[in-house]
């Protein structure tokens, strides 16, 4: 019999966990108290750090859950208690129903703190004081147009009176909201904060982006709010200028502490967050304040821990890759050996090496990795990023001064500082003890460590021992490895994962990254990466769709080579050769081959019989259409870039008066060049129609998944 697991909470963490576990062969019961899945992410406009629209991230996952036979979704079902039973666990629902399962994953998320901490700022009394989530909804719906907005951080967080932990994500989501406010309304924006807290390498960039846009950060914990006419009068102490300031705002946005949702039968930790055990796991914000990438990583990590069965995946395609059941872990550290151990425990061979590869060929399932002396054939690769990290030994001195950089490991430094005997000074810019780690900061202050904040240069102080802890820096080796992998590095030289939310830990298909610079827990990272690698190793055979060249027709023009966004096509000896390992099967080259020599194996016939024919990319634009709930006859294509001139003319010939091509926003195209090609094709057709004096119309529009209103308008005009 199939093992069963109950996932409580249908937010992003619960959804991801359900998907992963269903793929592992579990029968999943996904229990959600609201009428639909989505949790907090459903309410968001955009998500950090990637600034994607939240729906674009969420909706495909929900669709996947709904279409997965192994996941049974219970909506409108509030779980109230988890109880051990004879054979496993039972989850009691509010209406008296019970769900039995072998294992339980609790992902019930958080709510925002309410009450006194917020009332102090006039929340509940003045209509233009909002919580961050309320403001996000307003941003999403565009039902607001403020001129001056103040964001107040740490409302109830980092407080002896309310919550003694840091809520971790408020600095960043408020900065995100500030950026959106600037971009959408060009409003004046001030953020009142204690410390600017980021925990991953890209976070400081988000802060600087906000500053560039003119968002002003004010280090202050504001006092009171009063009404003054239609606006709000905020009083705060400007510590930099050493005076009390009264300032008017139209809108105040509070970032209240995250408070975990609770459920009976699952233990709490000292902060009131849920703590799992070996059979009942807590993930996401109910276990600790976290962002979306962390929640997703935790869901993946849990799946690895629960892994018993094999992966189930059915694929279509015309190219088969025989998977090599062997993994390669590059790098020497605890992280590397942990990843290797997990994979070994699942019965696969692992080769660990410290050596840098000189070339990597092939794709997920079968890579040929060359080193100076040998060549390995492996199915999946993990790279543990080498980060130059400064450290110091604890030794006693009369006075010790520790100078911290914003991007050095503050928690580690504080833990060590707590062990030092004698007087200790810590010089810092922003104290970054995020989430539950706030306790080390509290403890250090209680123990008498003196904290001195500096703006640009550390304050000069006299001390017997001065320790400077520089920021984490990427190893110089990265450059060489990146070149071999053909993957980009960020500005500083750290590896860049493909997409922190959609493709976390992934450098390239089949090559994964573990790094302390990602700001995710090591244990979580190792398990999540192992899961992704095992998915490949266990699939035995990977099938994919690739473009095929009719060599007799190919004129060797090189158009495909110039157009492909993945360097998959190369003209060799006057004939185009498509690298099956690199080809993504989008079909763009086929649509633009002058000799019509390239094609995809499956031919699609389109039903083109309406007055207005809409070709919509199956990604963002189709999402927007789906959400708009408008009934529109739409022809879904893999990418707007496959719509060529002939397809548009054919639609006209079948009687269409207008053709609309819907593509993703610039930079969002999954196949890199699709959107810009579609734009050009439509321009060409438009031009020819005009010259041919034909009254038919053609239009290209770009839609993000979240642009539901724009999409509705577009579809309405058609009718």
């Amino acid at each position: 019999m199939m093992a069963t697991v109950a996932v409580i909470g249908g937010g992003i963490a619960g959804i991801q966990a359900s998907l992963e576990l269903a793929n592992l062969g579990y029968e999943v019961y996904l229990i959600e108290k609201e009428e639909k899945l989505g949790g907090v992410v459903e309410k968001l406009d955009k998500v950090f750090p990637t600034f994607d629209c939240a729906s674009c991230i969420l909706l495909p996952k929900i669709k996947e859950v709904e279409s997965n036979e192994r996941i049974k979704v219970y909506t409108n079902s509030e779980a109230v208690k988890v109880e051990k039973s004879k054979k496993g666990y039972k989850v009691l629902l509010k209406d008296g129903r019970k769900v039995h399962a072998d294992k339980v994953i609790v992902a019930i998320g958080f709510k925002l703190l309410d009450g006194k901490a917020l009332r102090r700022y006039g929340y509940g009394e003045y209509k233009n004081v909002f919580t961050s989530l309320e403001y996000e909804t307003l941003l999403k719906q565009g039902k607001i147009s403020p001129r001056k907005v103040g964001f107040i951080l740490c409302v109830g967080s980092r407080s002896e009176k309310f919550k003694n932990y840091c809520s971790k994500i408020c600095c960043l989501y408020s900065t995100k909201q500030a950026i959106l406010t600037k971009e959408k309304f060009k409003a004046e924006v001030k953020i009142f904060y204690i410390d600017k807290r980021g925990y991953s390498k890209e976070h400081d960039e988000i802060f600087s982006k906000a500053e560039e846009l003119g968002v002003e950060y004010v280090r202050a914990l504001p006092g009171d709010v009063e009404r003054k006419g239609s606006s709000l009068l905020l009083t705060y102490e400007d510590i930099e200028k050493d005076k009390v300031v009264e300032e008017e705002f139209d809108v105040l946005v509070l970032a209240p502490a995250l408070v975990p949702n609770l459920i009976e039968g699952v233990e709490k930790d000292e902060y009131g967050f849920l703590q799992g055990n070996d059979e009942v796991y807590a993930i996401g914000c109910c276990s600790s304040p976290c962002d979306i990438p962390i929640a997703i990583a935790e869901a993946k990590a849990i799946a690895t821990k629960l892994k018993e069965g094999r992966f189930h995946k059915e694929e279509k395609g015309n190219f088969k890759i025989k998977v090599v059941p062997r993994a390669l872990v590059i790098g020497k550290s605890k992280i590397a050996s942990k990843i290797a151990d997990i994979i070994k425990n699942n019965g696969y061979e692992v080769i660990s090496t410290e050596e840098k590869p000189t070339s990597i060929e092939g794709c997920a399932g079968s890579f040929y990795v060359s080193f100076d002396k040998e060549k390995l054939n492996v199915g999946a690769i993990a790279i543990v990023e080498k980060v130059e990290e400064q450290d110091f030994k604890v030794s006693d001195a009369k006075t010790t001064a520790i100078i911290l950089h914003d991007r050095s490991d503050h928690v580690k430094a504080l833990k060590k500082a707590l062990k030092i005997k004698g007087e200790v000074y810590i010089l810092y810019k922003n104290m970054r003890t995020c989430g539950k780690d706030e306790k080390y900061y509290t403890l250090a202050r209680k123990k008498g460590i003196k904290f001195i904040r500096y703006e640009k240069e550390p304050t000069k102080i006299k001390a017997e021992r001065i320790i400077t802890i520089e920021k984490l820096v990427p190893s110089k080796e990265n450059k060489k490895i990146a070149k071999v992998l053909k993957t980009p590095l960020d500005k500083e030289g750290f590896f860049l994962e493909k997409h922190a939310i959609l493709r976390p830990f992934e450098l390239r298909d089949g090559i994964f990254l573990a790094s302390i610079s990602l700001g995710r827990e090591i244990e979580t990272q190792c398990n999540a990466i192992a899961l992704e690698m095992l998915k490949i190793l266990e699939s035995k055979e990977i099938t994919k769709t690739i473009a095929i060249v009719d060599e007799e027709k190919c004129c060797g023009c090189g158009n495909c080579e110039a157009i492909c966004g993945f360097n998959a096509a190369k003209v060799k000896g006057n004939i185009s050769k498509i690298d099956p390992y690199l080809c993504m099967g989008c079909g763009i080259c086929a649509s633009f081959c002058p000799a019509k020599a390239i094609s995809l194996p499956e031919k699609r016939e389109f039903d083109l019989r309406s007055k207005t024919v809409i070709f919509a990319c199956e990604n963002c634009p189709s999402l927007a259409i789906g959400q708009s709930k408008e009934k529109a006859e739409v022809i879904k294509v893999k990418c707007s870039g496959v719509v060529n001139e002939a397809m548009i003319y054919q639609a006209f010939l079948k009687g269409a008066e207008e053709v609309i091509v819907l593509g993703c926003k610039d930079g969002d195209c999954r196949y890199v060049v699709g959107s810009s090609l579609a734009k050009k094709v439509v321009e060409n057709v438009e031009d020819l129609l005009k010259k041919a004096k034909l009254s038919k119309k053609v239009k290209f529009e770009q839609l993000a998944g979240s642009e539901v209103e724009k999409c509705r308008e577009l579809l309405r005009v058609i009718r």
Binding site: C555, N559, F592, K596, A646, Y649, K691, A692
Partner: protein, 215 residues
């Protein structure tokens, strides 16, 4: 390669007026490389003709329309049902097809010049006028007959200013300055002084014809 340009659509429509069954014939040679007259473009044009004129318009293509036997072999069985062929090939292609069949063969393209293409610079450039008397060995691989607006054999003339040619208002480079600079870069400036004989224009007087055998 031979550089072509599709004719204005109106001119094409006018030229095929009255015909009811049209075969739009692409050429997958030079013109396909330029994205002007390949099978893809033939399909597009056929569809547009159907749309505008409501006549039968099919499309097909050949590897090269300038090869007599190839055209004969590929097209002989196909063309009976049509009353006209609209060719997207260069002038050589159009004429080869026209010679072989009794149908009217009409050009959909204008043949511009012999040139080279650069994807990066999005440019097709005239490089050769097919004079039959190549002097590139003396001119650092830059043909003044094709690239000098005046076709001078001894330049530059007084019409160049800072390397630009007076013809066209100092926007295009002077071929002779380019020749001089490349020779200098290659350390072969002495060639510049070499006597360049008068061009033998008899070699380029039309119509030209040559014997050609496989071996």
């Amino acid at each position: 390669m031979i550089v072509t340009e599709r004719k204005e659509i109106e001119e094409i429509f006018n030229s095929i007026k009255g015909y009811k069954k049209i075969l739009v014939l692409g050429c997958n040679g030079c013109t396909a490389v330029q994205n002007v007259g390949g099978e893809k473009q033939a399909e597009e044009l056929a569809l547009l003709i159907k749309l505008k004129l409501g006549v039968v318009a099919d499309f097909s293509s050949l590897l090269r329309q300038c090869e007599r036997e190839l055209v004969a072999e590929e097209l002989s069985n196909k063309i009976n049902e049509y009353d006209c062929i609209l060719s997207l090939a260069c002038g050589a292609g159009v004429q080869t097809v026209a010679e072989l069949f009794d149908l009217p063969v009409l050009p959909a393209s204008n043949t511009m010049f012999i040139g080279s293409h650069s994807r990066e610079l999005s440019i097709l450039q005239e490089k050769c006028i097919a004079c039959g008397d190549c002097i590139l060995a003396l001119t650092a691989g830059i043909c003044p007959k094709a690239r000098c607006a005046k076709g001078l054999l001894n330049g530059p003339c007084g019409g160049q200013y800072q390397g630009k040619c007076e013809v066209g208002g100092y926007t295009k480079p002077c071929a002779w300055v380019q020749i001089w600079e490349r020779l200098k870069k290659q350390g072969r400036l002495e060639i510049f002084k070499e006597f360049r004989p008068l061009a033998d224009y008899r070699k380029s007087s039309s119509p030209r014809e040559m014997r050609w055998e496989y071996i």
